[in-house]
Symmetry: C2
Subunit: 472 residues, 2 copies
């Protein structure tokens, strides 16, 4: 590895190479990107580069390779694990906002080829304007960018029906750390021509190279929705409900979101005022949503599926949203949960996934083990249809939340994640590794670590791409 | 690389290691596996190993690594590119038929975890017995095996709606060439914990290690089908038809199969006697199939979509199959095409894919260029919904077909594949590389070749896995 250049010496050459307006050392320009959206990570950097084309990215990376300069690519800055935050003045912060062209949208091919800096909302809007759908839906879709969505293999609400980001990608254009451009973003649905190296970039969090464009799948647009809130007696009942509704609704269930009592209590007390129209002793609620071409058809299906489920006692209570405002109110309640946790003083968060058939045993066992943390409150919610739980733990009512988390955070997390591993689950379902789950990756994927390091070395032998993220 | 052992010396140690019944040198045992199902490749080998467990595969590979012995894994022996055929007496032929357990099927998780030697038909049957669907459908499903299906990233008929093999895999258990076992086949829909190395095995044709088990997605079962034959005036009209039917049928089109005049003539003359109920001057026919929970509902949707398409002149003629036997007759006609080509003396085959919006221009241009081969006949058919054409070229009527192919094969293929590349397509959509497309990979993916070789070296530094396949 050549010696690291003093980054200040690189500014002029980079301006020559990329254009003066693509390189900034102005603290005010950098400031918004040094802290993530949630305010969880506080970074540092004093060189910001904003290339506007693949070719410019290639020139930048070739220069950085030659001079062994680290680069931290950042999308919409909405990630939860610090992958996009720069932590060293020796590294360049790479923003890709200016690479925001939709290069091609083909209706008959059901594809869009878009550049990395396009926001997810714009991808969805452009698809909609063509009468099609890009079904990936995230809370952060207004600001997160395609490159970040793919680099973190985002999942979100509709993965149950449409898969995660990986499932929606046909191919990528990437720049390798040495400046080579490889383009497999032609929009081909079938292409078996050697190793699918570009799949490795999905979820690699910018550590292998830079995704500059992607060819993604669009879907026929199903504009109708029907939404219901369902109460179940047990978590295994809710899992059986997942099977029932997916089958009975003709494979058109697009969301199956779990809420448990702790989350419901928080959102009721500290949310924006939405109320759930159903209550149940079990505290187990599911927000189910069905898609069809019209709302009438979606409603007809959901009603037809709901009736036998209630007659058989599988669903113990249920309410179908009968207006758009009722539907929005249900979703607002669901979306209030993370905000309510924050207002309650914050939570120790775990974004885990399990095989659905083991969810109940996992939750029971983990709740039992957490009794060691007296008075700790739980907020468990998430995408039941994908086995993805946000298993969050809050301080006892009345305790100093921050202090409690500081004292108990590691032990709580160890308790939860040990149980996840025992039940065959994943310690990071949606959010990735970044810098915050390096220990967990080393602990729970120790047998794969050597292989991951060797793959990293193939793409990025000098270690210039997003140093210290995913792998130490 | 240690010197290659004389393979005869390895037989006794392998019997000790794996059990006497797992190792055979009997020519009669080997014979059925030395030639592929189509009879296109003629191989050689004199040691056959048939392990029954992941642990036995691990012991085998560790031994082969230690002694630098090449291994050729073979699934159901139905591939089209020779990837599963052993070509050297110095290599061990690895059959995985005995690894045929379905380890787990979870209805609520919508997953099956099955071993590599299970046939695709059995995977589908076990899903069906549980009231669910594994939607991958191939002509060879009665004999092809899960490991081979995944190692070739097979596509088939329903990729339009459900994706290719890659899209249906949640995780793999693999044995690396050094004997290490890595298991990511827990059935997790969301798992963002480092690089998805197991994605690289999908389509790697057994050159990186051995897939011993996979966790695959199951779908709600849609038992109803409606099938129609549609005539279009032009290929771009058929592409517009794809858009129309996918949208108007509520995202439930599961097949959109193109037939052109050459293929229709062949199957009419040399097929099993099915006849098409529609004819058109253009010779452009599409077999469209819609799925729903009941056939009535599927038919209702397809009829509702067909009516405006005919009124607007998009579809110039159409016939809805009104009975199961009519439906079967349509599909039999489609399936007769490859067989009819064989009876006509064989064809120069090209399994290509293109962005759907470029299909018409590609076909027109290629047909034009092929006029240089006087009298050559075309059989163009395939999965229009995926942009996947089987673009096959036959000798002129009356010519000695074999001789004609021998003289013109390379030039015809070069003409077709050059056009494919110009229109942004892939020279191998479904069938992979094996040994028969090594030249094309080197030619059309030259910029990726170094990366592919480096990835191969990470997994298989000694080059013992399926030597000479995919990469020389």
């Amino acid at each position: 590895v050549p010696p690291a250049t003093d980054l200040a010496l690189a500014v002029e050459p980079l301006r020559q190479l990329l254009g003066a307006d693509s390189v900034s050392t102005n603290a005010a320009d950098l400031l918004p990107y040094l802290e993530d959206e949630r305010g969880a990570f506080h970074g540092r950097a004093h060189v910001l580069v904003q290339p506007a084309s693949t070719d410019a990215v290639a020139r930048l990376l070739a220069y950085c390779s030659e001079h062994a300069i680290g680069i931290v690519p950042q999308g919409g800055n909405t990630g939860y694990c610090g992958a996009g935050t720069p932590f060293s003045d020796a590294h360049i912060l790479l923003k890709l906002d200016r690479m925001n062209r939709v290069r091609e949208l083909s209706k008959t091919n059901f594809t869009m080829t878009a550049e990395t800096g396009v926001t997810l909302q714009r991808v969805k809007d452009e698809a909609l304007a063509a009468g099609l759908d890009f079904p990936l839906s995230l809370g952060s879709q207004g600001s997160c960018q395609l490159g970040g969505v793919l680099s973190t293999n985002a999942g979100g609400l509709n993965a149950l029906r449409y898969g995660v980001a990986r499932d929606l990608v046909l191919g990528l254009e990437v720049v390798l750390p040495d400046g080579r451009v490889l383009n497999r973003a032609q929009g081909l649905r079938k292409d078996n021509t050697g190793y699918r190296w570009c799949d490795l970039f999905l979820g690699a969090e910018g550590t292998l190279g830079v995704i500059t464009a992607a060819s993604i799948k669009l879907m026929p647009l199903l504009q109708g929705r029907a939404t219901a809130l369902l109460a179940f007696a047990t978590l295994s009942g809710a899992s059986a409900g997942l099977l029932h509704f997916r089958q009975a609704c003709d494979d058109s269930v697009v969301a199956f979101e779990l809420l448990t009592q702790g989350s419901i209590d928080l959102a009721t007390a500290l949310g924006q005022g939405s109320r759930l129209p159903v209550s149940a002793e079990s505290g187990l609620m599911v927000l189910v949503e069905v898609a069809a071409d019209t709302s009438e058809r979606a409603t007809e299906r959901l009603e037809a599926a709901l009736q036998p489920a209630m007659e058989q006692g599988l669903v113990i209570d249920g309410a179908l949203a009968s207006s758009l405002s009722q539907r929005e109110s249900l979703w607002r309640f669901r979306e209030d949960v993370p905000e309510a946790e924050k207002r309650a003083g914050g939570s120790i968060k775990h974004d885990v996934s399990l095989p659905v058939q083991h969810l109940e045993a996992f939750v029971n066992e983990t709740v039992d083990r957490l009794r060691a943390f007296e008075g700790a409150r739980l907020s468990v919610f998430g995408h039941l249809g994908d086995g993805n739980l946000h298993f969050n733990v809050l301080a006892p009512a009345g305790a100093d939340a921050q202090q409690w988390r500081h004292h108990n955070g590691s032990a709580v997390t160890e308790t939860v994640l040990a149980a996840v591993a025992e039940f065959g689950g994943s310690f990071s379902a949606e959010h990735g590794i970044g810098v915050s789950k390096l220990d967990e990756l080393e602990r729970y994927r120790s047998d794969e670590l050597g292989l991951m390091q060797a793959l990293k070395a193939v793409f990025d032998p000098l270690g210039i791409m997003n140093p210290g993220k995913v792998l130490r």
